[in-house]
């Protein structure tokens, strides 16, 4: 057993890291060795990535992360700490978001965004992405808030702090790992989302990086530029992988406090 642990773990770790490492390797392979040609092609191709694609992706990610944090913090606090009419129903409906086929609801969302004048807008796209983040984010924040010792909140209330004051000054620092986790996952999914921007955005200058990468892949019928594809995948993945490693301590704690201990 003592031997088993490092051997199995090591073998599994290699298996799990292999696709990522291979993707990086394949993206650097060129006909005559190694180089950044495939990445260069991503940016120089007629339908490749432009600066504004990166900017759009960052904007959507920022709006989604900010919006998700705002809604989920307030909502999580409400679900985790308060008793109010309709609480359980709202919570269950929020979780039901996970259970709807994406393609169908996107058509309806496209229609809806038309009603409120947010078709073909990064804000409209972000609102939709925030909604899709809510099941995970609300679940995580509700449990994070619920896990905070009651005495902490009560002593602040005795000191006469307002409800909002308690939330901001006492509760938020206590649920920091949960917040980091929610922000991280909101970033990851909005950053790499493909189908929602495809359906909800109409103008080239509002396209996100994922759209540009996929567009480039299919620009010539009958040929996939696999090397450029892996370069695109790697390019999209690197910021996420870095964030994951940097924030690892926080989100592991976030999961611990978020998923458990009522």
């Amino acid at each position: 057993m003592k031997i088993l642990h490092p051997v199995t773990g090591g073998a599994l770790a290699v298996l799990f890291l292999f696709p990522l490492l291979w993707s990086g390797y394949a993206s650097l392979r060129t006909p005559d060795g190694f180089g950044l040609e495939n990445y260069a092609r991503l940016f120089t191709d007629d339908s490749g990535i432009r600066g504004y694609h990166v900017l759009n992706s960052l904007t959507v990610a920022a709006l989604t992360v900010g919006g998700t944090l705002l809604v989920a913090t307030l909502g999580g606090y409400a679900f985790g700490r308060f008793e109010f009419p309709g609480r359980d129903a709202l919570f269950l409906v929020t979780l039901a978001i996970l259970m709807v086929p994406y393609a169908t609801i996107l058509i309806a969302l496209y229609v809806l965004l038309g009603w409120i004048g947010l078709q073909d807008s990064l804000l409209g796209l972000s609102l939709v992405l925030i909604m899709f983040q809510l099941p995970f984010a609300i679940f995580m924040m509700r449990n994070s808030f619920a896990a905070v010792p009651r005495e902490l909140e009560e002593s602040a209330q005795v000191d006469g702090a307002s409800s909002l004051g308690v939330l901001l000054r006492v509760m938020l620092p206590a649920v920091r790992p949960g917040l980091v986790t929610v922000a991280l996952f909101a970033f990851l999914s909005s950053w790499s989302e493909f189908f929602a921007p495809l359906i909800l955005l109409n103008s080239t200058d509002r396209f996100t990086m994922t759209l540009a990468v996929v567009n480039m892949r299919t620009a010539t019928f009958g040929a996939i530029d696999y090397a450029a594809l892996e370069a695109g995948v790697t390019l999209m993945a690197v910021p996420c992988l870095l964030l994951f490693m940097v924030l690892q301590r926080s989100y592991v704690r976030g999961f611990m406090s978020g998923a458990l201990r009522g």
């Binding site: 642990h5 090591g10 599994l12 770790a13 290699v14 799990f16 890291l17 696709p19 394949a26 809604v71 989920a72 307030l74 909502g75 409400a78 679900f79 700490r81 308060f82 109010f84 609480r87 709202l90 929020t94 039901a96 978001i97 996970l98 259970m99 709807v100 086929p101 994406y102 393609a103 169908t104 609801i105 058509i107 309806a108 809806l112 609102l127 939709v128 925030i130 809510l134 609300i138 509700r142 619920a146 009651r150 409800s163 990851l188 790499s192 989302e193 996929v214 996939i224 696999y226 695109g232 995948v233 999209m236 993945a237 996420c240 992988l241 592991v252 611990m256 458990l260 201990r261 009522g262």
Partner: protein, 298 residues
């Protein structure tokens, strides 16, 4: 969703009626943004989908009521019934494989030992890659053109290889994520419980089946619900990797919905299948939670 969290600590037990009502109001206020987002961007579109399912819904022009034709019209559709069976089969396979892999990995890295941190990171890292990106990554990885296994097996060579490729992808992408959730459950089990079991002379396997599993039941319920839901809605892995082939052997239910909506331009029928699928999903999740939660009450 899990017993450990379904009774949140609420500091209102002995509060008099006035403050209690005020607290309820405050809670409502905090929940308002969630209610707005869920209402406007989920309930309203969902209502629109349900409304569509009762109509012949042309892309442009005026819809006309045709209920229940969209619901009954698909009953003889073999593509749909085959896809339903495939999706069910896929869900069973993925649930078994993904759950056991994730649980095995969680047990492996449960206690701090040399290398554990590294293993955890390695297992969890694929979760950082978007699922569509991950599918594209595997498309290249398993391709004959640049993949390291080039030409050995062809993804769309047979139903088995196509399904196998999708399973590999899903295991790789989601095992770590589910492992982390299970890990949180494992770590919540007090060490004293294990020590007591040891004193009673329980073996490793007995401890696992009599202590670990029962105490983990709530977390297991959560993980299983997530896996089953995700599998019943499977789309990306097949859309990108196998295109539903070969010979429709990996055509999932959501792919059929996609086809009805975007290829046949029959939004009414697509909405009807979606509504049925949603009802099934909610029912399955409720049953799953009820069964697993019932006996977990400590």
């Amino acid at each position: 969703m899990t017993t450990t969290v379904s009774r949140p600590a609420v500091a209102v037990r002995a509060a008099p009626a006035g403050p209690r009502r005020r607290r309820a109001l405050t809670g409502l206020l905090y929940a308002a943004p969630t209610a707005f987002m869920v209402g406007a961007f989920f309930v309203v579109p969902l209502g629109l989908v349900a409304w569509m399912s009762l109509h012949r819904w042309p892309l442009l022009g005026v819809p006309s009521l045709n209920a229940p034709a969209n619901y009954t019209g698909s009953t003889g559709d073999t593509l749909l019934t085959d896809a339903a069976w495939f999706t069910a089969r896929y869900t069973v396979i993925i649930t078994v494989l993904l759950f056991t892999t994730a649980l095995g990995m969680a047990l492996l890295v449960q206690r701090k030992r040399p290398g554990t941190g590294l293993f955890r990171t390695a297992f969890f890292l694929p979760a950082a890659v978007g699922f569509a990106s991950a599918s594209l990554l595997f498309l290249g990885l398993l391709s004959a053109e640049i993949g390291p296994f080039g030409g050995v097996v062809s993804v769309s060579g047979s139903a088995t290889t196509a399904l196998g490729a999708a399973i590999l992808l899903v295991l790789w992408r989601f095992a770590g994520f589910n492992m982390l959730i299970l890990l949180t459950g494992l770590q919540a089990i007090p060490t004293e419980v294990y020590e007591a079991a040891k004193l009673d002379g329980a073996g490793r396997w007995q401890t696992f089946t009599h202590i670990t599993l029962p105490l983990l039941r709530a977390t297991i319920a959560l993980v299983l619900t997530l896996i089953v839901t995700g599998s019943l809605l499977a789309f990306d892995q097949f859309w990108i990797l196998t295109r539903g082939g070969p010979d429709n052997s990996t055509t999932s239910l959501v792919m059929v919905i996609y086809r009805k909506a975007f290829i046949e331009l029959d939004l009414g029928s697509a909405a009807a299948v979606s509504v049925v699928l949603l009802i099934v999903l909610v029912a399955v999740s409720l049953v799953q939670l009820a069964v697993l939660r019932d006996r977990s009450a400590p």
